[in-house]
Symmetry: C2
Subunit: 322 residues, 2 copies
């Protein structure tokens, strides 16, 4: 994926430059077949229509998405079968481990006494030549084959990267059209929820918000990047458990506010990032760059002010000399 | 492995013949390197010495076997680490399954209502394009690598098939030398246990007895085959849980008693086998053969008796006519 267009506008200044976080939003599945839910026509259009009355919605897209819900339900059933099989296998392994744990503990405390019983010696030979091999086969037994095979078949009709990006963009458009704030969307409190028009309230995780922010970022849409990264950060600050790294969120945040001209806030976010990760290379570079730019701006402002003051003084002196 | 020598003595008689269970006792490990515990010199000799006073035992073999006990203890530790890792992975999969289970249940009950919430639609796309793939990676993650690698390294010094067979044969010799019955050996009640000379009483499973019986069978030692298969059957009858098939035990039993000339008992065991497995091909053949042999023997005995009676009658008539 290319870097956002705006990036090319930034060149080296005084050996300092601003660098931007990578544009790596939605991953492509290895075996994605085709865009079935169409970034331009399908899900996105459907999402755009979601607030329209039922009769105006695209019937085909809803049917397709309904099919996906049932497909997903089948997958969950298959996954539960796998879990049962894996648990049963693990239970067998655990029983063996428990038996051997107490046996080897006894045996190693008094090897001579233990091996003095001829049956123990025979059973040791049998365990080492045969039974550990049987256990190895059990451990190596793949219980996931059926589930993986089901997933492989069913995912041929799954939406792909473009569909996911399309759905994200549609959500961003919806946000603008209905002037929704990120917090309301993320907590599922959309207009209509209270009146029962949207019976299935759905909340967004830090990861969902981060994903939306990255989609906006990949479109060089720094306004929405800021909104969704800030929402992700808010949920992180509230203690939500996630695998998303706060430093990564701050990285996108500082760059997106910088792109909107807010140097001070960009500097604040960068400083916060460096508290979390003092060795963050890009943040260290950006910190210097932002400080340099701010100093330059202040200098220019002071120069401007001094010039204005000088002109004012000059004007006053002139009027006095008249 | 060759068939037992005695097998060649049996030829087709009247279209009927007795067939014997396969000689497949102890399995060879794929990567067995060498006979370290020596069927002739090592473990077997050590087992033969087990009832000798301590100072007479082979010190080297005991050191080797003690090493094996500690190696086995290390393996158990490695196995427990694998179990922990696998449990933690499975816990993650279960959490996902539980979340998706309740989600898909709600969604499929009212697809239109569910998809009416734009966040649900976006999250469905995200799950199907990205998250199911992440779950797949988790399911396919191999947690056993370290344990399998440890096992592969450590087993290079494990005893092999010959050592296991050797230990089994030594136990059979010990049984003869000390005139021990199979039940006492199997329940670990060897002479010396009560006096504290053998502090670590060890019991034998059905599988252990079956294995010993098969070793004896592979040596055409039908006496010990019968003893150990009968012990295996006894423990099966007592309800011990095992993967050993009672039909297989009866198969060896009937053939070994037949080889010792006890046709009636061979027939009884064969009938019992056929109750468990009416389609057992060899048992069906042997049943006919044993019945035929018994009928022939009875016929011969009756002929013999008639001949004797005839001679007696003749003698009496002769003495009367004198």
């Amino acid at each position: 994926m290319d870097m956002p267009e705006t990036a090319s506008r930034w060149t080296v200044q005084q050996g300092l430059k601003v660098t931007y976080p990578p544009v790596t939003c939605i991953r492509e599945r290895g075996n994605a077949v085709s865009v079935k839910y169409g970034a331009e026509g399908g899900v996105c259009a459907a999402l755009d229509q979601l607030y329209l009355p039922l009769q105006c919605r695209s019937h085909d897209v809803f049917l397709m998405m309904t099919d996906l819900l049932f497909t997903e339900k089948d997958l969950v059933t298959s996954l539960k079968d796998y879990i049962k099989a894996e648990e049963s296998k693990l239970e067998q392994v655990k029983q063996w481990a428990e038996k051997l744990d107490s046996l080897t503990l006894t045996a190693t405390q008094d090897p001579e006494g233990f091996l003095g019983h001829p049956v123990n010696a025979f059973k040791l030979m049998k365990r080492l030549n045969t039974e550990w091999g049987d256990l190895e086969n059990l451990v190596l037994k793949d219980m996931s084959q059926r589930f993986i095979s089901n997933l492989t078949i069913l995912r041929q009709n799954f939406p792909n990267k473009d569909d996911e990006t399309g759905a994200a963009k549609a959500l961003l458009r919806l946000q603008d059209t209905y002037k929704l704030d990120t917090h309301s969307i993320s907590t599922g409190n959309l207009p209509g929820v209270d009146q029962g028009k949207l019976p299935y309230k759905s909340t967004m995780t830090v990861e969902d918000c981060f994903e939306l922010g990255k989609v906006a970022y990949s479109e060089s849409d720094y306004h929405h990047t800021e909104l969704w990264m800030a929402q992700a950060l808010r949920q992180l600050d509230e203690g939500e458990e996630t695998e998303v790294d706060a430093a990564a969120v701050l990285d996108y945040l500082s760059y997106s506010v910088y792109q909107q001209g807010d140097l001070e806030t960009a500097l604040d976010y960068t400083r916060r990032l460096l508290l979390l990760d003092p060795d963050h290379q890009r943040a260290n570079g950006n910190l210097k760059y932002f400080e340099y730019q701010l100093a330059k701006r202040r200098e220019a402002e002071e120069g401007e002010k001094a010039k204005e003051d000088g002109m004012r003084e000059e004007g006053r002196a002139e009027s006095l000399s008249r």
